[in-house]
Symmetry: C2
Subunit: 210 residues, 2 copies
């Protein structure tokens, strides 16, 4: 989700040392996840990717869980910034941009998405990760719902159930991301993107011209 790691820093916290430090630690975490995956990740392997004093990481975070939970929060905050930046007045365009960001986001680096699926599978054993995944999930669902409601109110979307449609969109996206990592086939994302478009054509956009 969200922007590329290398470009993401400028949006927040750049004005004070803490923000920049946090950003640098989050980038180190991204690199360590791509390099080691989530299963074998240690705080030390994140520290190894960090340019500044390694003790800073140990100062800010007590444990790997603490750090990775913060990283999951960082991902959704970045996504939030990206969605706000590209905010478009046309509800259909905004929905498309959001779907594109989720399906094709620059973070769809295979090594990173593999690490994310590993982290997701750990959620069942780790309430800290699960809580953060739930928070992120609710954020994206609410975002989709708000866009759909807006489009319905403006008369450009058919009067669907916003919550059900939002859940359908996110379920298809989650299924596509899982299938892509498991099957190792980029075409999965392209196909899913087309299926999402078709779904919207026959539901949300069905009465758009009436």
């Amino acid at each position: 989700m969200g922007d590329t790691t290398d470009e993401a820093g400028s949006a927040d916290g750049a004005e004070d040392g803490t923000g920049t430090e946090h950003e640098a630690i989050m980038r180190a975490t991204y690199r360590a996840l791509c390099r080691h995956g989530a299963v074998d990740l240690t705080v030390q392997s994140i520290a190894d990717e960090f340019e500044k004093s390694k003790s800073l990481i140990f100062y800010h975070y007590d444990s790997k869980e603490d750090l990775l939970s913060s990283f999951l929060g960082y991902l959704i905050a970045r996504f939030e910034t990206q969605v706000a930046v590209t905010e478009n007045d046309d509800p259909a365009e905004r929905l498309r941009e959001t779907i594109d960001a989720l399906v094709y986001g620059p973070d769809d680096h295979e090594a990173f998405q593999t690490a994310m699926l590993e982290l997701r599978s750990q959620a069942a054993h780790n309430e800290v990760y699960r809580e953060q995944f739930r928070t992120n999930d609710v954020y994206v669902l609410d975002l989709f719902e708000a866009m759909i409601e807006d489009g319905i109110e403006r008369g450009v979307f058919a009067p669907v159930d916003p919550e059900r449609t939002a859940t359908m969109l996110l379920t298809i996206i989650d299924g596509a991301r899982t299938r892509w990592v498991v099957l190792g086939d980029e075409a999965v994302l392209e196909t899913a993107h087309g299926l999402l478009e078709e779904y919207l054509e026959t539901t949300l956009y069905a009465d758009a011209d009436t």
Copy 2:
């Protein structure tokens, strides 16, 4: 996927010692996956769940990969048996039964599905698992496609693209299973089941009465 582990044995291999042994090892693997997950699983932990001589497991399988790949093949074979047993002449009924088996199968024990998601996330690093997951994926897609084609030929389904519709169904099911494990919320499956129904109503069943 498939039947409950305790009932699955009777379908194949019961007539010879090798089949029964294989079945017993597969059941031990199921129990070990539920108890330990896929990440920490060892051949020894599977042997610990096996009633017969443990050396038999080491005799049949060189490695954990070898055994787990065989287990993934066993899951799809059981599913195949189940689908064949419940074969219904009505294409819509058969499709519903297959979807139900995939969404709610008795194997949707949370600990087992968590282990399966862990195994799926390992596919990116393990070509043996990935190949078997691909084989299973193609099997289910082909099954859906054949049912949809059959329904179209008989004039009970609308003339959709069978391959795209099959992919949509499996993507939604995969998304629902991932979300269920990650979010730890059984309602995810119920909601996804309703969304699948709605999707079929507006696509496959759309012209079913004409």
